[in-house]
């Protein structure tokens, strides 16, 4: 359900990175007012926010469950995982579907911005400077066009 604007940006990003060796594609997402990146290969689908049913007794980072074409999906709030502010969901909120241990899991994000194509040289490995729990989920940091984007690892961000 990525809309046309995103695809257009994707195309622009592709052109800018053309001819710079092996690249990885990341989806730039907004979370609690900051920008993060998740690897595109791990994302199966992007949904506009479906009606969520809260699950009593579930851990705090579980926003609820929803049904995607008959399949039950647990939706995780990435903001709570990353200890960011979790104000009421903005209008542009999306759910990214990813596969985890053969379960489909939904990741709630404030907004989906664009696809970034980054070559390995553009990814700065997670530095020791980033202490605390966060560093477990961080692949590295990228600075496309002067912005700071934290690249996060989908397979470790969801607690199991």
């Amino acid at each position: 359900m990525a809309d046309l604007v995103h695809l257009e940006r994707h195309r622009i990003a592709r052109r800018e990175n053309a001819g710079r060796g092996p690249v990885r594609e990341f989806l730039a997402i907004g979370l609690g007012g900051q920008q993060y990146g998740v690897e595109l290969t791990g994302i199966r689908e992007i949904l506009s926010l479906p009606p969520l049913t809260p699950v009593p007794r579930a851990p705090r980072h579980v926003l609820g469950v929803c049904s995607v074409r008959g399949q039950l999906v647990t939706v995780i709030d990435l903001r709570r995982r990353l200890r960011l502010s979790d104000d009421s969901p903005p209008r542009r909120a999306r759910v990214l579907l990813t596969e985890l241990d053969s379960d489909i899991v939904g990741l709630f994000v404030d907004e989906v911005r664009q696809v970034m194509r980054l070559s390995e040289s553009e990814i700065e490995p997670a530095a020791a400077a980033m202490g605390g729990e966060v560093s477990d989920h961080v692949i590295g940091i990228a600075r496309p066009q002067g912005q700071v984007v934290v690249l996060i690892n989908l397979s470790t961000i969801v607690p199991r």
Partner: protein, 701 residues
Amino acid sequence: MVEVSEKAREDFFSEAQEIIEVLSRNLLTIDELQRHGSSDPSLINEAFRSVHTLKGLSSLFGAPTMGGLAHHLEDVLDDLRLGRVDFDNTVLDLLFRAVELFTKVLAIEKAGGVQPTAAVDELIDQIRRMGATPGPSADDQVNYELDPGILSVLTEYEEHRLRSNIEGGLRLFKLRVRFELATIDRALEEIKEQARKLGEIITYLPTGESGGIETIELDLLMASGHDLGTLVGALGGDNVIIEEVPRRRAGGVSVAPRPMARTAEHHPTGQAPDLVPFEATLAMPNEQLASLRSVSQTVRVDIRKLDHLMNIVGELAIVRGAIARMAERLHNDGHRQVGTELMRLHRNFDRRLEEMQDGIIEVRMVPLGQVFDRLARVVRQISHDVGKDIRLVITGAETEIDKLIVEELSDPLMHMIRNSIDHGIESASERDAVGKPLTGTIALNAFQKGNHVMLEVEDDGRGVDEKAVLERAVRLGKVSPDEVDQLTRAEILNLIFLPGVSTRDSVDDLSGRGVGMDIVKTNISKLGGVIDVHSEFGIGTKTTITLPITLAIVSALMFRVAGNTFAIPLASVSEAIAFDSAGVRQVDGRDVISLRGTTLPICRLDELLGIERSAPHPNRSFAVVASLGTRRLGLVVDQLLGQQDIVIKPLGKLLRDVRGFAGATELGDQHVGMVLDAASLIDEVLVSSDIGLRSGKAGHG
């Protein structure tokens, strides 16, 4: 590629499983017949053939342990069916052990692990030692006007059957039958079935004659003690011509084999049908017959595919709801005619959808006999091991239940039956002393009751010693000493389902370790079932399991609490009542209300589940009475929405630690609702404290 080979492996496992089950069933029937002093050679032959197939399959799929076992077993069965080895109890025991071993080896083959090679080798060794005495050499016993053509194509087994039938003084008949190619499988089975009552069909061969492309003509050689007239009366028809094969005259010197056509001259009735020599039949390759026989009417389907179909039906049900709402809106918005037409379509759709749902559920159903056969084997084995003479009486094996439930039933039932054998049925001397028949009886009954299947395991053993159970429960701290006097008999009996409380103190190989019945109960409640026990000390014990027919679609009660919609399976709800919060009293620090003179513990669901509530509790609310066995708990909810058939979907792995829910279900308009697991909520609220034992005064009468 991987998928194909995995699918093939799956098929192999399920086919091997089926073969082993058929083998087991045949052995049980043979065992039963032996006891009555009769036998049915076709059963042994069938057993031989199924093991033969198993051998072939095993080597095809690289399962050497199973293949080796099948190979040696095949030899023994071959000796048995050819009469080289006598069928006695030793042989039967060996065969039953082989079935057990096959089951084990197959499970290991499937799940991976170390094969019990030592056990297999030991059994093979025993099979070998049984050996065969050489069978009677071919002699001139066969003094019938049979064409050598037919004799030469008889298998060794058929020849053996022919000989023993002739030795038994039976007459030989030839049946010429004509079948439709499309239905030859069934037609052949039918005539075999009919013929079985009158004799035995030794072999059948296509004549090579054909009345058309669509039909095939066969000659059946049959041995019977009846005369031609009887056979014609019973089996004859438009497509079946029967004649007797004449016996050679005493001292007959006919050395040269006569063509079959000539036998007509000796035919007692003098009729001379235009017989074709049997030689002609040899031209027809056997493979062709084999390929015709493989035209099967059944397919094997992975249950997950049926789950998928059931999910689609669930989604269609949601579409159905949307159509109904749209029809109503059209109707009210001035488009009366279109609205009415759409409503009619909706009703039609509704009916078809229901039929489809019923159809899918029906496909999922399998007879309970599948489990019962396994249990019959266990009873035979264990009663033998512990030296008790026990008769297992099974009724209702044809009762059908969801395939998934059948799979999960086998362990709990096994445990219950073991309990009956170990702790229920007394030793022969004990039984003799109290004047009971020396042979103990365990009855396994199944029957359908509405949307439920009832299963009973009943024994005529010593019954549950309530005093001992109560003492043990007090010792384990499950019941406080001052509570003892307040417990009803039903409540005391149900104590055996608590962890650690066993029906007897002895610790032995099979059960009685004090774990068991609690696990049985847990497994049964996982299936949405309820278990109850009735027992008379000294007379016997009856354990009853009530199960839903299917897990795929569940009738549920829908309700709302603090703005959330929930469902609870109706199977675990005894009633729903309106109550006034003014009637709530406190007993032992717990909220209770009076319900028709009994005390019902209640619990506010929002508080239990930790749901935040924006509005205060309404004065008048509802209690959904969840029940598990004799325990009851009133769950207080805001609003009842009514009954609905739901498809329960399991919560994902991320939520596996969240207790109290069986899953979630779609509600329509894209929303989902959580489905409560009554058993775990009741356990949580009641069992962790002692009050649960006293809550169910209205339990069982």
